[in-house]
Subunit: 251 residues, 4 copies
Amino acid sequence: MTTTTERPLTRRQRWEQRTNLPLMVLAIAFLLIYAWRVLDTRASPTLDITLIWADVAIWAAFAVDFAVRLYLSTDRGRFVRKHPLDLLVVLVPPFRPLRLLRVALLLLDSLNRATKPRTRLMTFVATSSLLILLLCSLAFFDAEYGAPDSKIKSFADALWWSAVSVTTVGYGDVYPVTPEGRLVSLVLMTLGIGLISFAIGTMTSWVVEQLKTVDEAADRTERTLAELVEEVRSLRAEVAELTTDRETRGG
Amino acid sequence: MTTTTERPLTRRQRWEQRTNLPLMVLAIAFLLIYAWRVLDTRASPTLDITLIWADVAIWAAFAVDFAVRLYLSTDRGRFVRKHPLDLLVVLVPPFRPLRLLRVALLLLDSLNRATKPRTRLMTFVATSSLLILLLCSLAFFDAEYGAPDSKIKSFADALWWSAVSVTTVGYGDVYPVTPEGRLVSLVLMTLGIGLISFAIGTMTSWVVEQLKTVDEAADRTERTLAELVEEVRSLRAEVAELTTDRETRGG
Amino acid sequence: MTTTTERPLTRRQRWEQRTNLPLMVLAIAFLLIYAWRVLDTRASPTLDITLIWADVAIWAAFAVDFAVRLYLSTDRGRFVRKHPLDLLVVLVPPFRPLRLLRVALLLLDSLNRATKPRTRLMTFVATSSLLILLLCSLAFFDAEYGAPDSKIKSFADALWWSAVSVTTVGYGDVYPVTPEGRLVSLVLMTLGIGLISFAIGTMTSWVVEQLKTVDEAADRTERTLAELVEEVRSLRAEVAELTTDRETRGG
Amino acid sequence: MTTTTERPLTRRQRWEQRTNLPLMVLAIAFLLIYAWRVLDTRASPTLDITLIWADVAIWAAFAVDFAVRLYLSTDRGRFVRKHPLDLLVVLVPPFRPLRLLRVALLLLDSLNRATKPRTRLMTFVATSSLLILLLCSLAFFDAEYGAPDSKIKSFADALWWSAVSVTTVGYGDVYPVTPEGRLVSLVLMTLGIGLISFAIGTMTSWVVEQLKTVDEAADRTERTLAELVEEVRSLRAEVAELTTDRETRGG
């Protein structure tokens, strides 16, 4: 994630440094184009085709970027093994939205290293979560809108569904009725548990820190150490006595 | 939060100390007026206008308080940056209920510093939670009561909804049907996760304390230390022998 | 909770030791009578009155027990302050089921002190939980059965509702329609969060133990200690050399 | 779980080593046969009987295996006490699916000991969870499909139900209507809490590791140790001085 190191950059690293920002812009453009295609349910065929071509162009840019990075790598097999997500994003269409991870990662990078690790972790998770909620809402709307017996009458319904699902409240006023909608639900519910786990994990570590439970364990160690220090001190005293004694004798 | 320090108080701090109690009383008055306006669905126009004027008066009092504190600050930019919530409460009407945080904070303050940190943390969280549940129920009732297809027939329904939502049970017998109701739900569900996270965090630290898992790690340290103490002891013995030996020779 | 101490027992403690078992039997009898009254929806008036009298008799036994313990206490104010639950159980009828806590406490007591604290904690929580689920199901059935639009057709429905609520799944096929049913739900959902918190707390401490995360911290300590031990060893070697050297010279 | 130890294997261990793989294959065969019987709702009577006989044959194989292991044990009572699950799997038909635990355990075994404990724990839990979800979906489909008012129209519905239940979302679009379905639900919801607890536990330990909260406690220990090291160093210096001093005198 850091782009500046003390060693001179390899050719691939220099390429990545230069393409980082444009690709992030393309990722956001992808999000906007995807949102437009999904939400503009009455788009004219011409507009629809234009949007599809824009989508393909963005895909091509990412594919070229991957190819160049692969070409510039010294160990190509290792590069593929170390960047499976990048390969997935290029080869498997449903994983395209993962491009947006770049946005979250760049945001993480822009945070000063001096920031508390908790703040950095929370910023990363919060950004990723918001992007995921937005994407899942779009995908859910795409799958469910207009389906027979659909509960989704507007994009607001899809956003509401994502909130109700990710918090595991699940009132049941909005739920998927199509196989695609259920798949999106599965992704979101799994992520929901992940996010809640993360929230609880962070909170737990915060509570524990507040309550300073660890102090008690530390106290015990310190007590044993204090005993040991005492032991060494009396040893020093004896040696000092020994020295003095001899000096007296020698004097 | 503490209002007494060893340094002489600044003029702003003296103002805050003197206005703390009246503002808390106003915050509670705001809650009662809000509750009255929301629950008295057949209020006469005259009463309604009176209540609105009372609300405005309370707002004015908080605005004046903020202005005075800003005026008395030595570094006004820093004061605004350090008190964003106070500014929000004055400028953005939907955040008015946050005035009630003063009640929770004062309660926290009144707790003796000698109390266990866990008890103080839990008291603060419990008070805030109850106030939030009450406010969300009122706002939910305000938004949903009388709406077409509304599930809310009485304030008891709103209270029941808040309990079902905050615990993430979500039976689905009561759920929002208006955009405002959904917004209140979002606030409550988010807070619900926060509260559950807190409950679990506190419980986890308690369980860990009970099980004294940390003890085992401490035991390992102690074992190594015991070894070290042994080492030092035998060293002492040698030094002692050395001393005795010499004394014998010297004697 | 321990009934045998090295100090001679006070008169109150001897009373408690002798009445512990009979009261536990009465608590279980109370549960059975309550279950009978609730589930036998077509009981004859005579039977119903008999069961009510049995209930009153059990109440009287607990009241007498509390009075005797209060009388035998040296400091009566302190006794009341230290046993608020016992007072509540006697004075406020809805808290009568708390008598059953005695069963869980006695079970806890019967576990050998040598058992792992985790096992003891889990046994206590599991027993309490099962009793609470049973009691809430009974109370829910009592409140909801026969109510208009009730979702409860049999006691199996009430048990199912308790499981769905305590796990916060909340399908929405069964939910309370009466105020009393909602109150029971609130108790159960609150307990549900408590139980889940406990489960997660225990699991977290277990996972942490398994992963020996603490080991890494311990390793760091050990590394510093190893360094120290090295230091002391070389010191010992020097002292030993010193001794040998002198012996050689002295020899 | 390890099958190779430095001590020569007992006869029972050699038997277990040789039967481990065939029994795992039989366990998977059991899963496939069970799935076939459940999902082929229009199977001819002949096929149905064939599948039942295959099921019985697998049961017989597990029963014979248990009998042989019991026979080869030196202490048979202890063997039964140490392998209650194996006994349950043979004696109580509804516990047959637990045979599949062998698959998860073998998978755990095949993981190199050098793998991080977190990875091994997560692999085991993930495999078990997937098998449990699959089995519960099959059992749920078996119980609910074709029942009056059933919400289950296809196996996809059963899989969807298992996801909605295990995440405790519980929309309420799919829920059990038969006593058998409710029993399966109870198992799944309980496991759901277990899995979520595990996820949260793992996440918590990960967050804590990331935030290096423990470092602070370690730092304190290190500070005391640094002090001690200083103490010992000055002691060494003194001893060294002592030596030099004497050598000078002796020289």
